[in-house]
Each structure stands twice: as C-alpha cells, then as structure tokens.
C-alpha cells in the first residue's frame, strides 16, 4: 500500500509506531500528484519545496500532544490565505496574489503540525458547483475523467478521492463541500455556521460561508474538526460554545439506537436520479437496522431556498467583490470572469435603491421561515437524512447549459446552508456506471458530535468509503 492512500488517523498511527517517516509519507503524496494531476488537475499550486522544507524541520518527531497532525499532508482549497503561498480563489484577478498572513484554519492546521502540499482548484471565487468555472482549468472526477468533480471545493474532493493528499480542506457556502464530496465519493463535513473561523477565507457569501473538511473517513472529519473549531477573535461570527472532543465522542459512542431520523419527502425532488433515490433508501434502511427511529417529515419546498439563496448570494458577492480594485493587490476589475461579473451585476441590482425591499429584504424574511421550518422539524426528530445531490457526477460542460446550474444542483443543500446547520455527506454506494452516490445527514446548530456519531456508525456497517477509483 502506498502511504498516500492512508487516512489521517491511519497515517498518524503509522508515524507514531515509526512504520514510516514523515518524508516517505509526504513524498508518496507528491509522487501521486506528479503521476496523476496532469490528468485530474485538482491543484492550482503544488507546494513541493515548502512541504519538503517543512518535513526537514519536523525531522524525527511524530504526532503527539499539541501537534496531533505532525507531518500529515493536507491539500487546501485555494480560497484560504496561505502566507507566502499563492492564493488565487481560481480567479485571474488574484492569479499572482501572495498573502502576507495565514487564514485561521491554516494557522490552526499548521500549529497542529500539518504539512500543506498544495492549493486546490475551485469554481472561481467559489461561484459554482462544477469546478469548471475556474478561471484556469476544469478539474476531472477521479471516478470518470469525462465527468465533473462537483464544486466549488472540487479540487479538494478530487485530491482525496484520488489519494493525492491524506486530508483536505474546503469551504461551503451552500453545497460546496457536500456536493463535490457526493460526486467524488468522499466524506464532506460542513460545520455549523460560526463553528469554524472564516478569517482569511476569500469571502463569498459571508452570512453562510463555512470552512470544513473533505476526508476519506468520518473519524478523520472528527479529528480535523477538533483542530479547526472554536472562537476566533478575528471572526466575530464564531461561537464561544465549547468545542467537544469529537473523535472521542464517536469512538466512545454506544451506537445510535433510539436516535430519531427524519426523512423529508420534499427532498426526493422531481428529476432525481433513480439510483440516488434507491441508494438513499438503502442508507435509511441501514440506519433503521442500527436501531434508529425513522419517520417521514415535511419541510418547505427546497425551491424557495434556491430563490432565497440566489438573491442573498448575489447580493453578498457584489459587496464582497467590490474590494478588488487592483490597487493593493491583484489585478483590476476587467480580469473578472463571466460568472463573477454576472453575479456582481445581479447583486448590485438586488441591493440597489428601490429594489432592496423587493429582493434582499424579502429573501431574508423567507430565510427566517426556512430557519423556523427546521426548528419545528428538530422538535420531532434529532437528525434529518436525504440525498446530497439529485444526481451523480455530470459530464464536463454540463454547467454551461444552465444559468441556474449551481442552484439546481445544490437544491438539497441550500436550505440547511441558509439556516447555518451542520451536515455531512457520506458515500451511499455506486451507480451502474460506477459513480458514487451521496447521502447527507443534517442536524441542529452545533450538533456536529451527533452527526459524526451517526456517520461513523454508518461507515462501520457499509464500508463504501473504502472503495477507490481505478487510476
């Protein structure tokens, strides 16, 4: 077995037992990237020099205590600022931007000893669900190179699916972790809004932006959340609620008997791929067999969330992208791609005098209804389960056909994103064409521990996550 195929937990164990060195681990990832990334194109920047330098500094030390991730190779989505390492958000505006500081997420990973091996491709500015609106190139799905990895964290999802990194970081505004995780068959954890700091993440829609992880196992997601979660003085929206030991939480779990899981009938939307539906129902059956109490629930039609998200996202984008003037850093505004320009124009319109009440305010009111809808549901059930994406990975070019591609792709993840809820994507099986299908588990605010416990129980039973693409 090549070391790059290990999970974070397995790699830590191997390093601690001195079965291999940090150098061997990092080199296996770098070699995998060299071998495959000309085809998959998951990375915008590979930090070979920096990573090897980092490894030299680590020497013979192994993960322990305050450096639980010592020597573990991570891929970071290219919208997280990394000091001295180019950070582009896959946009031409920032094609030569070298931040002078680290995002809080990066700082925390580095303090824990992680080694950054590269920055991953994304939809430019994270505007999309395909990774083909990157201003640089399209990332391919490791399960089928003619298909999309999903997005916007498509590079990170593909890097994990293809074993080019041991752990990866992504960010989700509405689906950007869960949907690519579903299409690439990996675990994607989107924490509660404000559980993980947004400081140093190139802002998209600030009221929903949530950094999280893409991993090969639920255990890895739990361990990474231990490190990333917590109050940050630099992001006023972070919560001061105590951070639990999520890894200990799932390991010490005595099963999921009696946990009430709701199945929203509205989430089996029209046009959903039959196999996605079947696999979701199979996953529900697994939970039932594990002792969970399954019941059907009803939620607001997801179409309202799509409309709310469209307004809020465009509005917040127009405001967040107003700062790029090419004076302090980056290129001037003519470098914006089509998608960014379109969203800026739309958002400027929905926020403009005379239209604010009609669009932005109306959307924030409906958002309240969406939040209340979930609050009501969580009085009856502990968690909600449903398909993550209505389809498996679509062919390259699919996003070009529809103005609303991203929104319709993300129809099943937008409601929970708008409400700031935590959720996880788990691989629920494979279609006939051997493409992964995804199931998501959504919980109330700050219920990450329960979500991870349930995810872990699923993984122990099904082992879909161990299947790898033939590369």
């Amino acid at each position: 077995m090549n070391l790059n195929e290990l999970t974070v937990i397995e790699a830590i164990r191997g390093l601690k037992e001195r079965k291999f060195s940090t150098l061997e681990l990092v080199k296996d990832c770098l070699e995998r990237i060299k071998k495959l990334d000309s085809k998959i194109k998951a990375f915008v920047t590979v930090c070979e020099k920096e990573a090897l330098e980092e490894v030299r500094g680590i020497g013979d030390d192994v993960p322990s205590g305050i450096r639980p991730l010592l020597g573990i190779p991570f891929a970071i989505k290219d919208n997280f600022c990394t000091e001295g390492i180019k950070t582009t958000a896959s946009s031409k505006v920032l094609e030569n931007y070298f931040p002078v500081y680290d995002a809080t997420v990066v700082k925390r990973l580095k303090s824990a000893g992680a080694v950054i091996i590269g920055k991953t491709n994304m939809d430019a500015w994270a505007h999309g669900s395909s990774t083909e609106t990157s201003d640089f190139f399209t990332t391919k799905n490791p399960w089928d190179f003619t298909r999309l990895p999903g997005g916007s964290s498509g590079g990170s999802a593909a890097a994990i699916a293809a074993d080019m990194a041991v752990g990866a970081i992504g960010s989700e505004t509405a689906g950007s972790i869960r949907q690519p995780a579903a299409w690439c068959g990996v675990v994607g954890l989107k924490p509660t809004y404000g559980r993980v700091s947004r400081y140093g993440v190139i802002a998209m829609a600030s009221s929903t932006d949530s950094p999280g992880s893409l991993t090969k196992s639920v255990e890895d997601a739990a361990l990474i959340l231990n490190i990333l979660a917590g109050k940050d003085e630099s992001d006023a929206t972070t919560s001061s609620k105590p951070v639990l030991d999520y890894l200990r939480g799932i390991r010490g779990s005595r099963g999921i008997r009696g946990i009430r899981i709701g199945v929203p009938k509205e989430y089996f939307v029209k046009g959903i791929k039959e196999e996605v539906k079947t696999k979701t129902l199979e996953a529900i059956e697994v939970f039932k067999n594990l002792g969970a109490k399954i019941r059907e629930i009803s939620l607001l039609e997801p179409k309202y969330s799509v409309a709310v998200y469209t307004i809020l996202q465009r509005s917040e984008v127009s405001s967040n992208l107003a700062r790029y003037d090419g004076i302090r850093y980056g290129n001037e505004r003519s470098y914006f791609g089509d998608e960014a320009k379109k969203r800026i124009v739309m958002g400027t319109y929905t926020l403009s005098a005379g239209y604010y009440d009609q669009y932005y305010l109306k959307a924030q009111k409906v958002r309240t209804l969406i939040c209340q809808d979930f609050e009501e549901a969580f009085k009856k059930v502990d968690l909600i389960i449903g398909p993550t994406s209505p389809s498996t990975a679509l062919p390259i070019g699919a996003s070009k056909d529809s103005v609303m591609f991203g929104e319709l792709q993300d129809i099943l993840v937008e409601p929970s994103a708008l409400a700031g809820l935590p959720a996880i994507n788990l691989c629920s099986g494979f279609s006939k064409e051997i493409l992964p299908t995804g199931v998501q588990i959504i919980g109330p605010h700050f219920s990450e521990e329960l979500i991870l416990k349930v995810g872990y129980a699923y993984e122990q039973t099904t082992e879909w996550h161990k299947r790898k693409p033939k590369l």
Partner: protein, 99 residues
C-alpha cells in the same frame, strides 16, 4: 415581484455602479440571463411574509464586541507587497479629481 424586467440600459447602469466595464455582447447576454434569474426568484411571492422578521444572524449572536486594544499588525512593507504601482511607501493610484 411581477414585471421586474431589466432593460439593456439598466444593465449598463448597474455595471457602472459596480465599476465593471461590459462589452455590448456581455450587456445583451447578462440581460437575458439576469431576467431568467429574476423570473426564477419570483417564486418567493408565493409566501406571505407580512409578519415575518428578516434574518440577521442564524446562530443567534447579537452585538458581538471586544475591547478596542492596539495590537501589532502587518508591517508597511508587507501591506505594500502586493501592489503593482507604488511611490515611496504609498500605493500610487490614478487621479480621482481632475484639476
């Protein structure tokens, strides 16, 4: 939300507000695509929100404050490191006010 159709002139005006220069082709394309999007979001008018408060923060945080302490920040050299056009220790920009 009925009848909200954007004209080409409006697209040009909004682009100007957003400090974007659009080509004629882009104006036409965006006009169509934005109108398609506006038509989609009309679905919100199906919901009555007369007595609903707008959301401001989803996890219930209110008035987050911290002490206003002077802390060390990035250096002037670092702050200027990304600028393309500089003069001594300043960013150089085009004149905003004409003589």
């Amino acid at each position: 939300m009925k009848n909200s159709k954007l004209s080409e002139g409006e697209v040009r005006h909004i682009a100007k507000l957003a400090n974007l220069t659009l080509t004629e082709k882009e104006v036409k394309k965006f006009q169509n695509q934005l109108n398609e999007t506006l038509a989609y979001i009309e679905v919100l008018s199906e919901l009555n929100t007369d007595t609903v408060e707008p959301t401001s923060q989803v996890t219930g945080l209110k008035n987050v404050v911290k002490e206003d302490l002077v802390k060390s920040s990035i250096s002037q050299k670092e702050a200027l490191s990304g600028g393309k056009s500089k003069h001594d220790d300043y960013f150089k920009v085009k004149a905003v006010i004409e003589k």
